[in-house]
Assembly symmetry: C2
Homo-oligomer: 402 residues x 2
Amino acid sequence: MTRYEELLSTMALAMQPNAIRKLTGLLSSNKVISFAAGAPATETFPIEELAEAAARTIRDRGHYALQYGPTRGLSKLIEEIATYMRQRGVTDVKPSEILITTGSQQGIDLAARVILDPGDVALVELPSYVGGIIALHNTQAELVGVHQDERGIKTDELCEKIERARKAGRRVKCLYTIPNFQNPSGVTLTTERRRELITIADKYNLLIIEDDPYGELYFKEEAAHLMPLAALNPSRVIYLSSFSKVLAPGLRLAWLRAPEEIASKIETAKEGADLSSSLLDQAIVLEAIRCGLIKRRLPMIREFYALRCHAMLDALAEHAPEGSSWTKPLGGFFIFMQLDGKVNTTQLLPSAIETGVAYVPGQPFFIDSTGTNTLRLAFSKESPEKISEGIRRLCQVLSQKV
Amino acid sequence: MTRYEELLSTMALAMQPNAIRKLTGLLSSNKVISFAAGAPATETFPIEELAEAAARTIRDRGHYALQYGPTRGLSKLIEEIATYMRQRGVTDVKPSEILITTGSQQGIDLAARVILDPGDVALVELPSYVGGIIALHNTQAELVGVHQDERGIKTDELCEKIERARKAGRRVKCLYTIPNFQNPSGVTLTTERRRELITIADKYNLLIIEDDPYGELYFKEEAAHLMPLAALNPSRVIYLSSFSKVLAPGLRLAWLRAPEEIASKIETAKEGADLSSSLLDQAIVLEAIRCGLIKRRLPMIREFYALRCHAMLDALAEHAPEGSSWTKPLGGFFIFMQLDGKVNTTQLLPSAIETGVAYVPGQPFFIDSTGTNTLRLAFSKESPEKISEGIRRLCQVLSQKV
């Protein structure tokens, strides 16, 4: 999604088409500082290196890379991913457990289609990623929300909700969680809570869908390579990650690792869904891994987003209205802000945009329709200078309304 | 899918894993002439031009092409497709009716998910493309088969089957058809039958899913740009086509055109399924269209496959056993062969492979499990010389068994 389209869709949450048309000039003139798009900064894309890698891939391996590919994905790329996952602590991972998908969105969608029957219960965090919610919802499963605090999903509330659903005769099948630098909350699940989640999954016979697109984008050593849930008990976890944030989302490639039997069912589902993901993109990513392009650039990318995160935290500390609070992420793209209970961030969005700043209202991330006084701020796409100015503008609007 | 993987999956239809392992050496040593894979010939891929187009696209438009893209697809590519479809006779097509998909497989899957509820009836040709059958089947719709003759789907039988299903209280929702050079039959729907199909769709309030991946690959002027069903009555048709056969399948890009309201629902479904198809691949295809790469090479590609088709027809005329018959395609990749009623082509496949020739048994293409004495022969991937030799070997095996 382009910055412009993301802005438009954000506004569509709050406004009528006419109002959007009125603001079109303003938006396209680039006067709005946007904290809306949850996308990587284009400055982090290795344009020249990828241009060369793409041309090299097509010239040297075009006879293969331009042809139909296997549904599971390019086997050499799967081997590289297996090696990487072993380094992340999933020591026993096998290539037969891994599948390449068209973005993690497809991974969530296929996993949900394979795991869930209509009427089953799927647990999600409050708040959670809208795309994940949609994919789970599309199976006609019933979604049950569980709150997070600063240590991640609340495991006591999780147990209560499971017990309640089971007493009501429901089959509780899975939990969808984003343990690292969550979207939208920015919260990171603690090591202790990770162990508790696995215990709970064992106790209640749950699968955990562990969505980890941001894991490599940590800002502090304490958040460097936190143990994935899949490392703690691979038999309970479908792990998803992506090349979108560490390389470029335009290649639209991600992967999932699931217990072998589930991976095999997901492969069958993927065959019906699209036969395979782009083999050319897979071959380009393989080339990027082999020439060290991804690994070499990670420290720079972490530093890049850390700087932006700090700029936003500093500006919030300076300008935020009383009664508001916000998360302090250890990585990723997002800060989540909570305002005085009476503020409605959806209603406030048009005047924020007129003041020259955009965000995503928090409410769509809550499946229980709460969160009307919250908002998601992405620090990924604007420069530190614009972030400071944008937060100043935002807090001006918020202060008037609080 | 690689040639090797296609061969393996073909054999998996007929054999046990042990037998497959035994044949692995034989297959990888390239001694088998394969009429199995329904994939384009790698010789038709414009390797150097695509390498340059990819590098140029990333260098000049990487900031856009490497970012997240809109769910509907790159708007400039959609405009090019709209222009093309107008030339094909769909004169009133609007960009808002078009969506880019990850191969036509995704288009069929999303269309099926949007149109069909469990228990609805979807009509398919006997025989038909397995991927289409799977996507329709995955919605838990009931599939009803309608035979083809040399003029395409039999419209009288179609009406009978619709009437019968309706009398049984079923909702008949759609017909899935491949009107040009059908996979696997190689048959082309006549102009008269096309008009009849539209009349039937109107009468019974059906949607037609028109899958047209081969339309540009005609061998004779009589088959040049036959009027798509979508041109006869766009309100009744979801039209699908692809860049896989006219450029390269590794880019994994196709499109669909549907009535606006359905296109909008499919867009919503696609958002949950994968957010969007690879934007990089879309930008490369756009570049290929703009520099004339696709259009310029079409006459060469048509000639290329026509030569192979004729080689196969000539060899069949010379060697085919008595009592067998086969289709004479006007384009595409496939000839469909029917043998004496007692021959089982699935059982015959291992000895064919040992003789050095592979094909796909016809039975999986028939949803009613008939067609045990049929086989699909793809002439797309082997040279005319190998085709002659392969058909000689095949007919040797068939003659022994008939």
